[in-house]
């Protein structure tokens, strides 16, 4: 039931508890209690809109930054990763296998703002060896959602 509930919410976080109860074949109380528990346990960490930034007038720049870090005797990459995570400019931080260590998703008002963040804040953190910044040009798909508007239903309206 938890997996199905999360599947519904990943698809549509605004789904009403009454509708979810109907879909899952359980009571509304159970749905509400399960969501409350998942929030309390930290499984559900927040509720956000999936926004196609490309359609907004405001200037908005997103970059993906590969960061190489010197691991530390105690805690490995954790100290640097947690320090990096605290910056408001940073939307996401992942520890990666392969040619670099941390992958950051960073957003800012302009190219300059992001560049300044990298050179003045990120690169100067003790333990950061190097950074490689890639700017996003266009979003095609985000959080499992295609940014292009879907076409009309191509099926015939009535079929056997």
């Amino acid at each position: 039931m938890v997996e199905s509930l999360l599947e519904i919410l990943r698809n549509n976080a605004k789904e009403s508890p009454a509708n979810m109860a109907k879909m899952l074949g359980v009571g509304v109380d159970e749905v509400e209690a399960t969501i409350a528990r998942l929030e309390q346990e930290g499984v559900i960490r927040g509720w956000q809109a999936i926004v196609n930034e490309d359609l907004l007038d405001g200037r908005h720049v997103t970059a993906v930054i590969e960061v190489r870090v010197t691991p530390e005797r105690e805690g490995g990459f954790n100290r640097v990763a947690e320090q990096v995570s605290r910056f408001d400019e940073v939307d996401a931080v992942y520890l990666m296998s392969g040619g670099y260590d941390l992958l950051l998703f960073v957003s800012g008002e302009s190219l300059l703002a992001v560049a300044r963040f990298v050179s003045e804040k990120l690169a100067t953190i003790h333990g950061v060896l190097s950074t490689a910044t890639h700017f996003k040009l266009k979003t095609y798909k985000q959080s499992g959602v295609l940014m292009a508007k879907p076409g009309a239903d191509a099926r015939l309206a009535v079929t056997p």
């Binding site: 519904i8 109907k22 879909m23 074949g25 239903d153 309206a157 009535v158 056997p160």
Partner: protein
Amino acid sequence: MTGGHDRLARHIVDLPKSGIREFFDIVSTRRGVISMAVGEPDFDTPWHIREAAIHSLEQGCSHYTGNAGLIELRRAIADYVRARFGAAYDPAHEVLVTVGASEGLDNTLRALLNPGDEVLYHEPCFVSYGPEIAMAHGVPVAVETHVEDNFRLSVEALEAKVTPRTKALLVNFPNNPTGAVLEEADVRAIADFVLRHDLILISDEIYAELTWDGRRHVSFASVPALRDRLVLLHGYSKAWAMTGFRMAYVCAPAWIMETILKIHQYGIMCASTASQYAALEAMRQPEEDMAPMLRAYEMRRNFLRTSFAECGIPMHNPAGAFYAFPQIARFGLSSREFAVRLLEAENVAVVPGTAFGPCGEGFVRCSYATAMEQIKEAVTRIARFVRTL
């Protein structure tokens, strides 16, 4: 030259027009209709399957295949049928790739029937069964199923209609349009009936993977005693959302298959090559491909069941396929009137139960192969509509 029905094939001219077709004509005059009348998945075919078809074309696979279909595909089908349905078929002589299950059924009926042979089938049912039997010069004999039995097929009803001229029984579970499924005991009882009367069993199991409430489909192919008299029809349209590929298959003992293949080879040559490569790809990870679609269907089914109960529309438990078959008789309208007035008042299309046989009177078919947002809106409108009756 003068035209006229007397110059055409009488057994075709005499066939009734499809009730679905008539309703389609009404619906297609309107704009913005929310349709619960579609008998195919709303999901697109998984991308890796479509990509395999594209790749096959890029590789120049644009020629005929062997009549029975690619041998790799037939092997994959035999493996799948063994694992999923519990029956072993020889891919070289007992598996045929067809253009939709409808071609498989047509070939099977033509292979089996002499003029005047009777074929039992149950109603409400897929619109083509009766006409296909008649097109093969057989005599369609409908056996009713009822809401009180959850639309399962009873042996008592079959016994009442069987005659010395009965050649075959045609069944379809999980069922279009009722969503009914058979229990294992039903399958065994029907198998006994088939054996007792020395019939051929044609089982259209196109919705086999679509069963709910944790059930698993019980295939007639799992009954060893039926092995030599069973024609199993299955395909990719429903569970893999591949309707447009027209990919299906027939599994049958070699003595029947030889004749079915003869018809296929003269009539069709072979199924589309690109579609066969898509089907081959579909066999690589069937569970993974189907799982998200199956979860969505079941949630929609649950939603519909509760929503109809809330607005006072009785419905049996549709445990398979992607159709709900609510009972609308209590509103004092015929199925057709209900569907037409719902369309006019609320712009929601459902199919009158009578499109699937006379005993579908009093019911409408609601397909939940429709996005959840559409279903929610449709249910709101249906609830509003029935309050006016």
